[in-house]
């Protein structure tokens, strides 16, 4: 791993369009500012890993009988669809 020392308000460029700025340092906590193109997702790693793990779990498990039970259980209180297609029309 490449390791670089930076002081407050100094930055690192990753490629031509990703900038990492040290915005604040307090004790053992460092605040970083990230300028990156919008197609580059930036996440805290532990949350990123948790969601990735959950996606993989969700892709594997779906008990068909249990799902049928849920459809009955929640089916009467139909709240889905209210923000369905119409919601998109308001966008700009």
């Amino acid at each position: 791993m490449l390791v670089l020392s930076r002081q407050l308000n100094e930055a690192i460029m990753i490629g031509d369009d990703i900038e990492l700025v040290v915005v604040d340092i307090r004790g053992d906590r460092v605040r970083l500012g990230i300028n990156a193109p919008k197609e580059i997702p930036v996440h805290r790693k532990e949350i990123y890993l948790a969601i990735q793990e959950e996606n993989i779990r969700a892709a594997q498990a779906a008990d068909a009988a249990a799902l049928d039970t849920l459809q009955d259980l929640f089916g009467s209180t139909d709240k889905t669809g209210k923000d369905d297609r119409a919601a998109g029309d308001k966008d700009k």
């Binding site: 959950e54 498990a61 779906a62 849920l70 459809q71 889905t80």
Partner: protein, 167 residues
């Protein structure tokens, strides 16, 4: 032989066989889903037994599908707080204009069902774009217990700030 007009996309699925959807029902995920970065096209499929739980089916990976639902179904105070930049890639100016679904895990025992409230999937239904958000902060978890009663887990863990006054 197909009717003129709307071209249909044939989609092979391991759960529902081969289905056909109009192009207008295909959502493009520029960033894929976390853990499935290269899967970019999804569509919504009704469950064989219809209801509020539906499927987010990968168009190009027959066996990849997620059960999704409206989080307001079981968490009426659910709010997605997100910075505007995170919605730019799906051309949404305001989260109010997006359709928000969450991925649920449905185990054999339904009472152990969980919903990923920290990683909601948002849709721009007008532009047919989609993205999984990663919500910051501690407010929501990836394993929200939909049924919180009669369980050894402490419900407060999932309740966030709303239920502080409880006993």
């Amino acid at each position: 032989m197909a009717e003129k007009g709307i071209p249909l996309v044939k989609i092979k699925t391991s759960r529902f066989g081969e289905i056909e959807k109009p192009e207008s029902d295909i959502f493009h995920f520029p960033e894929g889903l976390l853990g499935f970065r290269l899967v970019r096209r999804f569509t919504i499929v009704e469950n064989p037994k219809p209801g509020p739980f539906i499927w987010l089916q990968a168009v190009d990976v027959p066996e990849l599908a997620f059960v999704v639902t409206d989080p307001l179904l079981f968490k009426p105070d659910y709010v997605v707080r997100v910075q505007k930049q995170e919605l730019e890639s799906i051309k949404i100016a305001d989260i109010e204009n997006a359709r928000v679904l969450v991925i649920v895990v449905v185990p054999h025992n339904v009472r152990e069902m969980t919903a990923n409230l920290q990683g909601p999937v948002v849709f721009n239904t007008k532009e047919n774009l989609g993205k999984q958000l990663v919500l910051q902060g501690e407010e929501y978890t990836t394993k929200y217990r939909v049924f919180q009663d009669g369980d050894k887990d402490t419900p407060s863990e999932n309740e966030g700030g709303s239920g502080k006054g409880g006993e």
